[in-house]
């Protein structure tokens, strides 16, 4: 399953300017995308398994890299740890 707007957010966050804005004011950026409350919560909680079911795996990795998670921590989160 693909959540279009979640995927679009992750895709757009490859732009450094948007990534910087997201880090400074996440909710303001989230408000521009048509995301369900559950998806917004998953983003706020870094809920990798929930997000993984809804987007492309490479986009998910980019997202967690963008917000500053090293791969080791990302892997741990993917496994539900």
């Amino acid at each position: 399953m693909r959540d279009y707007w979640l995927s679009k957010l992750f895709f757009d966050l490859q732009q450094p300017a948007l990534a910087a804005e997201f880090k400074a004011n996440r909710d303001s950026v989230l408000a521009r995308y048509s995301l369900s409350p559950e998806v917004q919560d998953a983003i706020r909680e870094n809920n990798a398994p929930f997000l993984a079911e809804r987007t492309n795996a490479y986009l998910l990795r980019y997202y967690f890299f963008t917000i500053g998670l090293k791969d080791a921590e990302f892997i741990q989160r993917l496994r539900g740890g």
């Binding site: 279009y4 679009k8 993984a52 492309n56 490479y58 986009l59 980019y62 892997i75 993917l78």
Partner: protein, 272 residues
């Protein structure tokens, strides 16, 4: 007429740049040697044009329109957009519009339907191998982006056929060009899924072995194994394109080593 100058394959992965310093010294040395050996072989083949076969890691395409295969027909290609690739020495990379358009037209004549783009960004998938190979002279690049990251993907058999088509397009191009092929990606790795970090050395070694057997044996093995060997392993499609172009023979392994620090089973090969 143009002539086929040889085919080459190398793994790629962001950590080959981002975590280069944390790779154990002996593995770093082998990776360096393998990339350079490939660069040496490519330089000896003297390609004027290099068809680079790689996936698009969301640099050009999104879910709105993600082509199975896209040929870059522009005079110029953009360098990698990833911020961590900013040290890459080329922000613009010359294309070869005439040859690229010939490939696209030949494809359409033969019943293949590629997408085309007049301006592609070449992401780390293409640029890391080119960077690490340390080519003295960069050939004109004709990017061929093959979807191996967002299902559904082109079939394995179709990728082999694409390689054969490339060879025909090379040999029917009315110009005095030497054209090489560089496939990038693979071998086994797993990205953004629960198994991320896993390298299947047994799969990689058997895959390498099958490149020296029949096409059927290779495709049958990959069809059976790919679903359980990590999503990054799907990039072996690019190797199949190179293999098809090389006539399904001549595979010579430069090196293979699983590198946990970059979470990729790293393979390097050339076809004469």
């Amino acid at each position: 007429m143009a002539e086929f100058a040889g085919a080459f394959a190398a793994s790629h992965g962001p950590l080959l740049v981002r975590e280069w310093e944390s790779i154990p010294a002996d593995q770093k040395q082998r990776l360096t040697r393998a990339f350079q050996e490939l660069g040496k072989r490519m330089s000896a083949a003297r390609p004027d044009v290099l068809v680079t076969v790689s996936p698009d890691h969301w640099a050009n395409f999104f879910l709105d329109n993600y082509p199975a295969v896209c040929i870059g027909v522009g005079e110029t290609n953009e360098g990698p957009p990833e911020p961590w690739m900013k040290a890459y020495p080329h922000q613009k990379l010359a294309g070869h519009a005439a040859f690229a358009m010939h490939v696209a037209e030949e494809a359409l004549r033969q019943g293949f339907e590629p997408s085309i783009s007049h301006r592609l960004k070449l992401d780390h998938g293409t640029c890391i191998p080119l960077w690490r190979m340390q080519l003295a002279k960069m050939p004109a690049l004709v990017p061929m982006l093959v979807n191996s990251i967002e299902p559904p993907m082109p079939s394995l058999a179709r990728c082999l056929e694409w390689g054969k088509l490339l060879r025909k397009a090379i040999e029917s191009f009315p110009g005095n060009l030497r054209v090489g092929i560089l496939a990038t990606g693979g071998l086994s790795h797993s990205i953004g899924e629960k198994t991320m970090g896993a390298i299947h050395e047994d799969f990689d070694r058997e895959t390498i072995k099958r490149f020296s057997s029949s096409e059927k044996s290779l495709v049958d093995y990959l069809s059976q194994e790919l679903p359980s060997r990590g999503n990054g392993s799907e990039e072996v499609r690019n190797w199949l394109v190179a293999h098809g172009a090389a006539g399904g023979r001549g595979f010579d392994l430069v090196d293979y080593l699983p590198v946990p620090a970059v979470i990729v089973g790293c393979g390097f090969a050339s076809w004469g």
